[in-house]
């Protein structure tokens, strides 16, 4: 009785195409936005903002990007952190060296990443399945090598590029709260764009390709165009996320922050959160970013029993174990839990 889909009468085309046709969804989203924009500054401390909420939002954004590619278009990518690195370095160079405004250089970083991603998407036109998955690892290694060896970008193997102070329209972005707002605005705008993208012609074409690309081609969907577009959009999101996390969290671009492990974490977010679900990307992003923090906190409360290297091992064991556990219990991801909950709320408190 709580979650009701009945009583929604669509009288106009506009109402039929609304992004959230059910009033409860609409109010829920508005409530979440109010909490995120107005409530959080009162609820969260600086520590929470800068080391939990910002990474959570940014990695969710990157996971969302990967979800377009893997969950919607059905192409696996094991080298996605490399596209984040491209975005990070590109936006830093645009902002630091060429003094492009911050917002534009973040978007520019995304565009450069999109261009690079499109190039590495070309093999997907010929190669499928696990063969493609392994060949996307090439992106990770080639980009890592390129960024460290091309002196113009990073200044050599051990080079890092520090972020200059951030300024948007004359405002200095220095406190965790301001950084949080910057990230939040990007995430909200790009998520809205993404939500609309996947219900447009492009999104439907992606899903057709995911379900069976031969059949999709026969009904007239251009594989060339849509597969490359999926790689481009996905790397654009990754690039923007890479730029954001460098500016607001790491403070310096360093290739180690975007290594292969991060790529696996991103893939883990998509699969654990739920493939082909925008909400799932946020669940997955939250789960994988917060898990190590909670394990750490948990260990610290029982402190002193563990040595640090043993703690790192415990973290690996718990992390790996939980991934397996969630895959066994909920193979379609955490987003499926939300659907189940909706199903239940539709009837509650009546048995049927």
């Amino acid at each position: 009785m709580i979650y009701r889909e009945c009583g929604v009468f669509k009288a106009t085309y506009g109402a039929d195409m609304a992004i959230f046709p059910i009033p409860l969804d609409r109010w829920g989203i508005i409530l979440i936005l109010i909490v995120a924009f107005i409530g959080m500054p009162f609820l969260a401390s600086d520590y929470w903002l800068s080391s939990i909420l910002i990474p959570f939002l940014v990695f969710s954004l990157a996971a969302l990007g990967l979800n377009f590619l893997t969950g919607y278009a059905g192409q696996l990518s094991l080298g996605h952190a490399a596209f984040m690195a491209v975005g990070a370095y590109a936006s830093l160079i645009l902002y630091g060296r060429y003094e492009v405004p911050l917002l534009l250089s973040l978007l520019g970083g995304g565009l450069v990443a999109a261009a690079v991603g499109t190039v590495f998407g070309i093999p997907s036109l010929r190669i499928k399945g696990f063969y493609l998955a392994v060949s996307t690892l090439a992106a990770q290694f080639i980009i890592e090598w390129g960024l460290t060896h091309w002196k113009w970008i990073s200044g050599g193997v051990f080079g890092t590029v520090d972020t200059p102070p951030m300024e948007v329209f004359g405002w200095l972005i220095d406190t965790p709260l301001k950084k949080y707002y910057l990230v939040l605005c990007f995430v909200v705008l790009l998520t809205t764009f993404g939500k609309n993208l996947v219900r447009s012609q492009v999104g439907r074409a992606w899903m057709a390709i995911r379900d069976m690309d031969v059949a999709a081609e026969i009904i007239g969907i251009s594989l060339f165009r849509h597969k490359l577009l999926a790689f481009a959009v996905s790397s654009f999101y990754a690039g923007v996320a890479g730029g954001l996390i460098t500016f607001t969290y790491y403070g310096a671009a360093n290739i180690e922050a975007f290594n292969l492990m991060v790529s696996f974490h991103l893939l883990g977010m998509v699969i654990i959160g739920g493939m082909g679900s925008i909400l799932g990307s946020f669940f997955g992003g939250g789960f994988i970013t917060l898990l190590p923090i909670f394990i750490n906190q948990f260990a610290r409360t029982f402190g002193a029993v563990f040595k640090t290297d043993l703690l790192a091992c415990m973290e690996l064991i718990i992390f790996g174990g939980l991934i397996i556990f969630f895959l066994i219990v909920e193979p379609f991801g955490l987003a499926r839990l939300w659907l189940t909950l909706k199903e239940k709320l539709r009837l509650w408190p009546f048995p049927y």
């Binding site: 010929r126 063969y131 290297d309 091992c313």
Partner: protein, 292 residues
């Protein structure tokens, strides 16, 4: 010219050791359709366990103990991870093996420590001369061992009853079940075999590079070998290993200096991409004919 041949031979011998790791992937993919990303971590675990057991046992007993451990591990993985995930999408299984990799890494390093350890099994790494070419004795032993393993496995899959049962399972799970092949046992056997392969790879790579975390990254060198040869082809793994080993060595020595070096990390991937563009299922992989 002599130098080029030496470089190529060195590469070929290293390539055989790549195929050793790639074999582990092929075995599991061939008989259960699972892309086992934990192969590198299994190699690390086997090497760590061997070093651990060597402190209390003589060599042969230690190897036996690790063998038992790997088989027990295979049975455990089958029962705890794979059985609940039967008939789930391949991607879920793939992700589960990534999780398994983290788990094994944590367990291995938690028990035997994270510090790098040496592993000496009594084969010297001194190069010797054959008709004017310098060849490492260690590489030769490694290559011979890998060769023997590959021949053994090919015989096993083609001729023995169990091997044929495993191939039937890989063709079609349900059909294999319906003619009375126990699926759970077949998978446990496969994982045990790939555990043994991991042990051999762990011994060879461990005594070459030392036993430490980076040993598990050897899997990343085996992956281009895997797709170049074809995910489900045992001969493919060995031939692709040779091709990758020789070409990456030659590329590093003769091409590397022009672009700043370190191209060994990604050259095999470029090579694999190039070949896959023309043969999308690798050199010897089974081509999947798609029907709508």
């Amino acid at each position: 010219m002599i130098f080029a041949i030496e470089v190529a031979i060195g590469g070929l011998l290293v390539g055989v050791m790549y195929s050793l790791v790639a074999l582990g992937f092929v075995l599991i993919y061939k008989s259960s359709g699972v892309f086992n990303f934990a192969q590198g971590d299994m190699t690390l675990l086997a090497a760590l366990a061997l070093v651990g057991f060597l402190t209390i046992f003589p060599l042969w007993l230690a190897i036996l103990a690790v063998l038992v451990l790997m088989i027990a591990l295979a049975i455990g993985i089958e029962a705890i991870v794979l059985r609940p995930l039967v008939a789930r999408p391949p991607l879920a299984l793939f992700m589960a093996t990534i999780g398994l990799g983290f788990l094994l890494q944590g367990i291995g390093q938690g028990i035997w420590g994270t510090d790098p350890k040496g592993l000496n099994i009594g084969i010297s790494d001194m190069p010797f001369e054959v008709k004017g070419l310098m060849v490492s004795q260690f590489d030769l032993v490694g290559a011979a061992l890998s060769g023997a393993l590959v021949f053994g496995l090919v015989w096993f899959f083609q001729k023995s009853k169990t091997g044929r049962a495993l191939r039937a399972v890989s063709d079609d799970h349900e059909a294999a079940l319906s003619v009375g092949i126990p699926l759970n046992k077949a998978w446990a056997i496969t994982w045990a075999i790939s555990g043994v392969v991991a042990l051999v790879a762990g011994i060879m790579w461990g005594s070459r590079l030392g036993v430490q975390f980076s040993l598990s990254l050897i899997a990343l060198k085996a992956l281009p070998v895997l797709i170049l040869g074809g995910i489900d082809s045992i001969p493919g793994a060995i031939i692709a290993g040779l091709v990758v080993g020789a070409s990456e060595n030659l590329a590093e020595v003769f091409l590397g200096p022009y672009v700043g070096g370190g191209i060994q990390t990604f050259f095999p991937y470029l090579l694999a991409l190039l070949v896959l563009w023309f043969k999308p299922y690798g050199m010897f992989g089974r081509e999947i004919i798609e029907r709508v």
